[in-house]
């Protein structure tokens, strides 16, 4: 792909256009046509397919009837990060995949309609929700990402006094820092944060639990704690040369494109991306848009086993990303200056036997080692768990995945609830923003139920 993207000189300003939102939103006429095409199913399958249970036919009907505030409200009611989700949800696998029109003509563009309605709300400065009457209880939320924001908003609506402790400079988590801007502009996520703040939720940014505030202090000052700290950066891959200049963590790479000036290091370079999940795709397309001369995804299995969604894969192909299937990186080779010069790989083949996850096991093809000449390697093989924080809180986990009771949403410490990626285990497919949002809601409702029950018992005792 020695394409027109190779320029002689690079500047951050020149790349900015590459990072504006890629997919155009619906026009007013487009939204009117599409919303009128919705059948307004009864007991609609799209609602059931949405992890947050957005009443999709209802919000679409409201768009058709020009009740934009009502449409936005019905979306955000069920999903406090509904504007972000309209852009990042794998709708083909969720609502749109369930649309009955798949069989008859073409599914309703639910994601785009959801974006149209929430964009309206973003552009009209409307207050969609109000805080509930104070119940005197205080809740601390650790982590201001989708799950934390979602929990905080529902708690605030339920009358709780809520403080969100966010380690980063801004809240929004993955939506703010971890998804490429040409799919999800940061402003969308920050608007969602603002909506939560408008309900009186205090978001203390730059505060890390353990250093900024102690666990004892939290447990002392708050009636309940919601742990929604998500996941961390990319773990070490464990091959030689990982520390070389020119090796990047995919999440940090994406993050760098969302904070300050765009990084220029990849411009004109050949880039190998290790991994085949959605973050790997994001890192690959991001590299393309940062001016890389050639981007190859290196994956030890095949297209069949990759966890990235089909639409992500298609998008990467359109962007000119190449795929090197059945290829496992063995070591990263440096040049004389200690910079990346090549990625040594070995060919793989899929064995007949299947692993624990049901996928066929890749095995090395003996003697098939080869060098892939690259100047940069981006590692996207998953995310680290916040084991340190979890241990600090003293709650049970399994390899960094916090264990909760499904019914009470509580961790092993009854004062601490958990939601989002921090309770997301491996082998469950891709972690989704929309699921995190739902779990945040559920944690909030569990807390509400608990304290309501306590009040009831107090009243009963008094009687």
């Amino acid at each position: 792909m020695e394409s027109s993207r190779t320029f002689n000189s690079w500047s951050s300003e020149r790349l900015v256009d590459n990072f504006v939102e890629f997919e155009p939103g619906l026009t007013a006429k487009g939204a009117m046509e599409e919303s009128n095409r919705c059948l307004y199913c009864y007991d609609a399958p799209c609602i059931k397919a949405c992890p947050t249970g957005i009443n999709i036919p209802s919000f679409i009907k409201r768009i058709a009837a020009n009740n934009m505030k009502g449409a936005a409200r019905s979306i955000m009611e069920s999903n406090p990060v509904g504007a972000s989700c309209s852009r990042v949800c794998p709708t083909e696998e969720l609502c749109e995949g369930a649309c009955v029109l798949n069989q008859a003509s073409a599914p309703i563009q639910i994601g785009l309609l959801q974006r149209y309605a929430t964009d309206w709300a973003r552009n009209h400065d409307v207050q969609l929700f109000a805080p509930g009457a104070s119940n005197g209880k205080k809740v601390a939320v650790i982590g201001g990402g989708p799950a934390g924001l979602s929990a905080a908003r529902e708690l605030a609506r339920g009358g709780f006094s809520v403080v969100v402790f966010e380690a980063r400079e801004m809240a929004g988590g993955l939506d703010t820092y971890g998804i490429v801007s040409f799919r999800l502009p940061q402003s969308v996520s920050l608007w969602e944060v603002e909506q939560v703040e408008k309900l009186g939720v205090e978001i203390r940014t730059g505060v890390k639990v353990g250093t900024g505030i102690s666990v004892d202090q939290l447990k002392e000052e708050y009636d309940a704690i919601v742990l929604a700290a998500g996941m961390g950066y990319v773990p070490r891959i464990g091959i030689e040369g990982e520390e070389l200049e020119g090796v990047y963590d995919a999440i940090r790479l994406v993050e760098a494109t969302k904070t300050g000036n765009l990084p220029l290091e990849l411009a004109g370079k050949r880039v190998a991306v290790i991994g085949a999940g959605n973050t790997a795709i994001d890192a690959a397309t991001c590299s393309v848009r940062l001016g890389a001369a050639n981007v190859k995804m290196v994956y030890r299995r095949t297209r069949e086993e990759m966890t990235a969604y089909d639409f992500e894969f298609e998008f990467a192909k359109q962007e000119g990303v190449e795929f090197s299937w059945l290829t496992m990186p063995k070591r990263i080779i440096s040049d004389a200056d200690g910079k990346v010069a090549a990625l040594e790989c070995i060919r793989m083949t899929l064995a007949g036997e299947t692993g624990k996850d049901g996928r066929r096991v890749p095995v090395e093809v003996e003697g098939s080692e080869f060098e892939m000449p690259v100047e940069a390697v981006v590692v996207a093989i998953g995310q680290e768990r916040h084991t340190e924080l979890i241990d600090l809180l003293g709650i049970e986990h399994e390899r960094g995945v916090v264990k909760i009771d499904e019914a009470t949403r509580r961790t092993s410490d009854p004062q601490i609830y958990a939601a989002g990626d921090i309770i997301f285990g491996s082998g469950q497919g891709e972690a989704m923003v929309v699921s995190a949002a739902e779990q945040g809601k559920q944690a909030a409702y569990a807390i509400s139920r608990y304290f309501a029950g306590q009040e009831d018992s107090v009243i009963e005792t008094a009687v």
Binding site: Y42, D43, A44, V100
Partner: protein
Amino acid sequence: MADLSIDLAGIKSPNPFWLASAPPTNTGYQVQRAFEAGWGGAVWKTLGDPIINTSSRFAAVHFNGQRVAGFNNIELITDRPLEVNLKEIYETKKRFPDRAVVASLMVEPKREKWHEIVKRVEDVGVDGLELNFGCPHGMAERGMGAASGQQPDLVESQTYWVKEVARTPVIVKLTPNITDITVVARHAAKGGADAVSMINTINSLAGVDIHTWNTIPHVGGKGAHGGYCGPAVKPIALSMVAECARDSRVGIPISGIGGISTWQDAVEFMLMGATGVQVCTAVMHHGFRIVEDMIDGLNNYLDEKGLASVTELTGKSVERYSNWGDLNLNYKVVARINTDKCINCNKCHIACEDTSHQCIDMLTGADGKAILKVREEDCVGCNLCSIVCPAEGAIDMVEVDSGEVPMTWNERQQEIARLNGSHSEAEVV
């Protein structure tokens, strides 16, 4: 290729598609453009004493994103001098001798006024006359149009005056803004009309602007009722055509008007008794070129049906249009859902559950898939489910044997009367 030509009470045209008297037939330029496009005839915009029109005249009703489900206007008859219109009619007819050029007329209900205009118009070579007793707005306030058309005796006498001098066939255009259109149609026939045309527009207020609270349309902040037409009025027009067609006391040919937009609409009107049809709103929405498909579609339909002439359609469904009292009460249909074509939108279920007879169950099939099933013993055959169903072929209304001999309400009442040997409830007619 079937023969599409028609002969409406002596007015001949190469196809049954005429433009109705309305804005599209205002000038010779327009009518000639229409004839170039293929229209078989045109009823010129109503001639009379020129009027003054308002600015802001039309409005439409849009439905679920579709433009112009219904159309409303407060425009009056021609605002151009009679001489100008007559000159253009003459030129148009000369250029298109095979097309039907009919002059629509409206004057005060005075014998000499009618005599004068009929003579002047016939002198330029029109093929027929259409008396406008239907315009519901503006002109009616001056005692013309619908104001005449709502008084059967005035319709009869004015038709009679026209017929005293007319040498060409006379069509009387009826207003739907009355209780029983057949009464007026019968009076037109008694006055000597050669044909009737229907319907003119229906009294309407297109809407109210919910932001400004003005009427739609409004003229400087004030509105007045207009005349409604377009696809939304088709069923009303069709029933009025059918009522006149099956009334032997009317007994004259019918030119069908009201929401006709496609060749299918035209076929329906003709099956219900119309000899030809007139179109307006559809051309105002899309231009004269729509006649191309109307001609082509009608041709293909006639070929498919093996009919040599379009005239074979006229009236073929009239005998099937009857009174409620003559419907077989023992005829039974039930809904049947074709699971393979069903897309599980559940619209039939909720429509039946909430608003009809609660006989469509949402079940889980043997394979675990959701299915919808009609409890036929509880189904009254109302059709609602098949109406709301968006999936082609998913719901059939199937005839079932009720096990009873056919019996209508009227027959039933007669039978009861015979058995009781006494009077029965009045027949429903």
